[in-house]
Symmetry: C2
């Protein structure tokens, strides 16, 4: 028992292929089509490889339970509703958002390769995981990628207290030459709700500035989480950005938006979220040879890395740099660190669902 | 003299057509081609009509002086370098950024109308004024518009103290039905440098959080402005956004970026800024009839306006709403309020340059 307690209080490392097999087994048992299971697990596993504390393998049990409960369509017809030289409109048929989004970003990249730019609007989808994944996909195809989504309500308009926007993220990826690709993935709140709930799950205090209570007052009380509000970055600026993301992902796509969605905390309620996503891909070759663009992006990165440092700063970092380094070292190791609370949840789900994949830490 | 002092301590109202005539006379005298003079003045005057404290008519003397000094090309060949179904690359030939940008956003809108989306990259341009203007232009053409620019260096990477990015703004416009168009115009710093220098010009204190000294420490000392740094919104998030804007406006366009530019305060030095701009227009009709999009945008606005208010909030505002209301009332009045420091600067310039336009307040 002592050793188990040590296990679950510190990060454990688990083999990447074991996590992949676990996820695919879990989703197969939940009825998800094999192609979808592979896509969703790849998105969640990539977040784990990048060391993202949220949107990683910890989400798998929840997704599998929602599939089993019929809240996610496990046999969706992910359909092209309309298409032109530079756009695709996709109906996700209530399938897993990650699967829908891998398909959708693929369309955007293809259009960008063919026409220079691709705009893809997705309706009738679900939570798509980490925005950074699709931005990163674009960089791997030598195009600039941008994406956002809406979903469960987290943010109120500035000055208001009625939840009206998802914690809508912005993902942007920029291909580079020898530097790590630039991958920005930021939510329009000070911290992602997942980080707050993770802090609660890990028994850590909620820092002041992360959460507002239902009256719009800053709070550190975990009890305020269920009915509380996220704090938009930079006050009216974060509110304005969240509004634009809601327009791009919801109003423009034909998806639900604003009050069409339930609160984030009510995600398991079974109410169809009708989430929408927006993907944009831009091929730099419209403007210069790709080698020139890569060299210019590398030069931008080099300028930043060479910045004189403020007192107390050890290293200037580029958006996504830590994540790309984590990915490289975890991929080389063939295993990834898993948070104790996540590891517990995976093992509990495996026991509940009767999964056979061996999740023993390395 | 007493009455003059009263005049210059409170806002004065000046007739819109007098301000327009003043600007056109100033630019004509500085050698600017008539088409360019009309474009630049319209952009600056619209900012005045919207009640923006910066990027308005107060900038006219500085632009005219830079034209006279040969730092802005008054007879530019604003040229299309490359073009496809959905993109245009523009060389601004060191002309006034507003003129170049009105042309460029026009290209983006035209492409969006023809192909669904238009991406326009501009190199070899100069300061383009208020980003919101071009976003608003898009809304008037029933398309979603997005723009950004780079320019004189204001921001350091997070953790660093070397100025590496302009105070790169993001402008986004969304057409609506009966509601005011949504027009977001935000800089990636807590406040625009123009607001800080305006506070200094108006003899007001600089609030803590607006400015960092050259070592990256927050300061309220106006003496730190010349060598100081802007404060990025939301720390690493604002830094990440500024980097993406620098990529879109600079790296992608073929313009100068990062250290290619001088510090913002050195703008008058004569060093060609080689600024770049990025414009994107998206036609919602790719995804639904425009009437449906307008109705959905109106519904989004109505949800926000109906939000329960936090204590102390009188009204929930939409991005650009105050500005659109100002524009409507100032347009109806035929005159606009002008800040005392701005009014003084205009009259001083008129006297220096021997302009004949009557700027007597109404």
């Amino acid at each position: 028992m002592a050793s188990t307690q040590v296990d679950v209080r510190a990060d454990v490392r688990v083999r990447t292929d074991a996590l992949r097999a676990f996820g695919i087994e879990a989703f197969a048992k939940a009825g998800l089509a094999p192609e979808g299971a592979a896509a969703v697990i790849e998105v969640q596993l990539e977040a784990q490889l990048r060391g993202q504390p949220t949107h990683n393998m910890g989400g798998v049990p929840g997704y599998a339970r929602r599939m089993q409960a019929g809240h996610i369509n496990t046999r969706p017809n992910i359909a092209v509703v309309s298409e032109s030289a530079c756009h695709v409109q996709v109906d996700g048929d209530a399938g897993p958002g990650q699967w829908v989004s891998v398909v959708a970003m693929g369309h955007a990249i293809r259009k960008a390769k063919e026409a220079g730019v691709g705009v893809v609007a997705v309706k009738n989808s679900q939570h798509f995981g980490a925005a950074g994944h699709y931005a990163w996909m674009a960089t791997q195809a030598d195009v600039i990628g941008l994406c956002t989504t809406n979903g469960g309500l987290v943010l109120a308009p500035w000055g208001g207290v009625t939840p009206t926007f998802g914690n809508n993220p912005l993902g942007v990826g920029v291909p580079t030459g020898t530097a790590h690709p630039i991958v920005l993935d930021i939510a329009m709140s000070v911290v992602a709700q997942g980080k707050t709930s993770l802090a609660i799950a890990e028994g850590k205090p909620i820092p002041l500035g992360w959460l507002m209570d239902k009256r719009g007052r800053l709070t550190t009380n975990p009890a305020d989480f269920a009915e509380g509000l996220g704090v938009p970055i930079a006050e009216h600026k974060g509110y304005g950005l969240a509004l634009i993301m809601e327009v791009l992902a919801g109003v423009l796509t034909g998806a639900g938006f604003g009050h069409d969605h339930a609160r984030e905390g009510a995600r398991g309620s079974g109410r169809p979220p009708e989430s929408g996503h927006f993907f944009l891909a831009i091929d730099p070759r419209m403007f210069m040879p790709i080698e020139e663009f890569r060299a210019r992006a590398d030069r931008m990165v080099a300028m930043i890395k060479a910045s004189e440092r403020a007192e107390g700063t050890r290293e200037i970092l580029i958006a996504g740099e830590i994540e790309m380094r984590n990915r490289a070292s975890n991929t080389a190791a063939g295993s990834v660190p898993v948070l104790p609370s996540t590891f517990r949840a995976l093992r509990e789900y495996a026991a509940d669902a009767g999964l056979t994949t061996d999740l023993t830490p390395v």
